[in-house]
């Protein structure tokens, strides 16, 4: 099994490396929004002194950490896999004795992620000198405790996206569904603004949804803003959502594959 993953890694790394120019363009697209939110909120904080206790530096550190966390937990499976179901190229992968979504596509995502993070590092350093965040509140323990949370966050986000991608077995509008899902992430994950500045009703719902595990929760762990109780609660939520999303995915996938008859076959 380890050997299989090693080979898959080599193949997928080589494949992603081939598209490094496109990858930089993707990075550019994706960088703009957080930087704009950072600029908007720091300007508000500077004008008012603070925003409900958030100083300008709090916003800068939040979005600077967000750049890394979001890149670590997000995935592109809908774009790399959705078309395979639609045009039937999936059949070639189905006859292999390994699960296409949980091995090859997963490794492909990790390879993509490794490359974008490599591209992000120099950009992040430049932004660091432009915005001069004060990270004195960040402790090593916070970073260490956030790493497993980010891995869990990535796995949950991957499984949910994989479930949505698998809906392509039934509908051709899977990209529209994904766009809707993307809006939910924007609303409940803390991508736009730290969740505590959202309307109370959104905060209440967000607590129980998986989206904050992708962004808000790991950021708060790194910044050392959570009490022990909150840390435990977050990990418990992550555990529950991992199980739920895994069960959901396997159920949808099985039902989909049964239904699948490749186009042109």
């Amino acid at each position: 099994m380890f050997l299989i993953f090693q080979r898959l890694w080599q193949v997928n790394w080589a494949e992603q490396w081939q598209y490094r120019a496109n990858l930089l363009m993707y990075l550019l697209y994706w960088l703009v929004s957080p930087i704009i939110y950072l600029a908007v909120w720091t300007s508000i904080a500077n004008a008012n002194g603070d925003v409900k206790g958030f100083t300008a530096n709090d916003f800068i550190t939040y979005y600077m950490v967000l750049l890394i966390v979001d890149q670590a937990t997000s995935n592109i499976v809908i774009h790399t896999f959705g078309y395979k179901i639609q045009d039937g190229t999936l059949s070639g992968e189905l006859i292999k004795p390994i699960h296409p979504m949980l091995t090859n596509a997963l490794v492909n995502n990790v390879a993509f992620k490794a490359l974008t993070i490599m591209g992000l590092i120099p950009v992040w350093i430049i932004l660091f000198f432009l915005f001069k965040p004060d990270f004195s509140g960040v402790a090593l323990s916070g970073i260490l405790i956030a790493i497993p949370a980010m891995i869990l966050g990535f796995l949950i986000s991957y499984l949910i996206s994989a479930t949505i991608t698998a809906l392509a077995f039934w509908t051709t509008r899977v990209y529209s569904i994904h766009e809707f899902y993307f809006a939910l992430i924007l609303l409940f994950s803390g991508q736009f603004v730290p969740l505590t500045l959202m309307p109370p009703i959104i905060q209440n719902i967000a607590q129980y949804l998986p989206f904050q595990l992708f962004i808000y929760y790991p950021i708060q762990l790194i910044l050392g803003k959570l009490s022990v109780d909150q840390i435990i609660q977050g990990y418990v939520m992550a555990g529950i959502w991992l199980v739920v999303s895994f069960l959901l995915f396997t159920w949808v996938w099985r039902a989909g594959v049964k239904r699948f008859s490749a186009v042109g076959a």
């Binding site: 697209y29 600029a39 925003v51 409900k52």
Partner: protein
């Protein structure tokens, strides 16, 4: 006259094409409303935490959102689909047929593909602008509204001209098919007044990829932040950039040699 006739037949063809995918059109409009809801909610969140953003009020930001959506509509309804077609035509040489037509080739390249349902977006944008101006209230005068419209038009022309230059570069560098990505990526910066951005970012969105010229500057005219000389200057920039774009386009066409030779 002939141009109008052509434009209406382009529109007709594109409507016919999109009628084949009616359900998709409905879904797209629904998603578009969802994003409008999100945009208004995000403004609401901002203004529940502050009374002004860089001195701008809620009404002004709604009007800005309208102008942003205007530019965005041009991006999604014209620039994006036509770029795809254009890049393809450079690769496979079908650009030959476009040049052979007895009509201005820049016109053909701009309007041959139109994402028709986006006309909705245009209406929404205008509603947002009107509502926003009304909300911002007493500071607007007839003169400032006139300046606003002039600079909105010139801003849209600046973005359009930049697009023409970017795709014309493909005549020289055939492999440059990421040509519009950078424009599209930075477009989101037009949602908020560029005056709140740090200097380096303001420089980029004003001078390099002038998104702010099409969004922030018309709104500044509406607020009365610009004097008459500045208004004339920015309008001149619009005219000048269009002139440059047509020159670059003509140069590029001379460079074009077909795909087979």
């Amino acid at each position: 006259m002939q141009t109008l006739k052509l434009l209406s037949s382009f529109l007709k063809v594109n409507i016919q094409m999109s009628l084949a995918y009616r359900a998709d059109t409905v879904v797209n409009i629904l998603l578009n409303f969802m994003w409008l809801g999100w945009e208004l909610l995000s403004l609401n969140i901002i203004f529940s935490n502050t009374t002004s953003l860089g001195g701008w009020g809620l009404g002004e930001l709604i009007a800005l959102l309208g102008v942003f959506r205007l530019v965005n509509t041009m991006m999604m309804a014209l620039i994006w689909p036509n770029t795809e077609k254009f890049n393809q035509s450079i690769r496979d040489g079908s650009m030959d047929y476009t040049i052979l037509q007895p009509i201005n080739s820049m016109f053909l390249v701009t309007f041959s593909r139109i994402t028709v349902w986006r006309i909705w977006d245009l209406i929404l944008a205008i509603v947002l602008i009107v509502v926003g101006i009304n909300m911002s209230g007493d500071t607007t005068t007839a003169a400032s509204i006139l300046a606003f419209f002039l600079l909105t038009i010139s801003g849209v022309i600046v973005i359009y001209s930049l697009w023409i230059v970017l795709i014309a570069l493909t005549f020289w560098f055939t492999k440059f098919d990421n040509n519009v990505t950078i424009l599209h990526a930075l477009l989101d910066a037009g949602r908020y007044p560029a005056t709140v951005y740090p200097v380096w970012l303001r420089m980029i969105v004003t001078f390099i990829i002038p998104v702010a010229v099409a969004t922030t500057i018309p709104l500044q005219a509406l607020r009365g932040d610009l004097n008459i000389n500045q208004i004339i200057l920015f309008f001149g920039v619009g005219v000048l950039s269009f002139w440059i774009a047509t020159k670059v386009w003509k140069r590029g066409l001379k460079q074009y040699s077909g795909a087979s030779s």
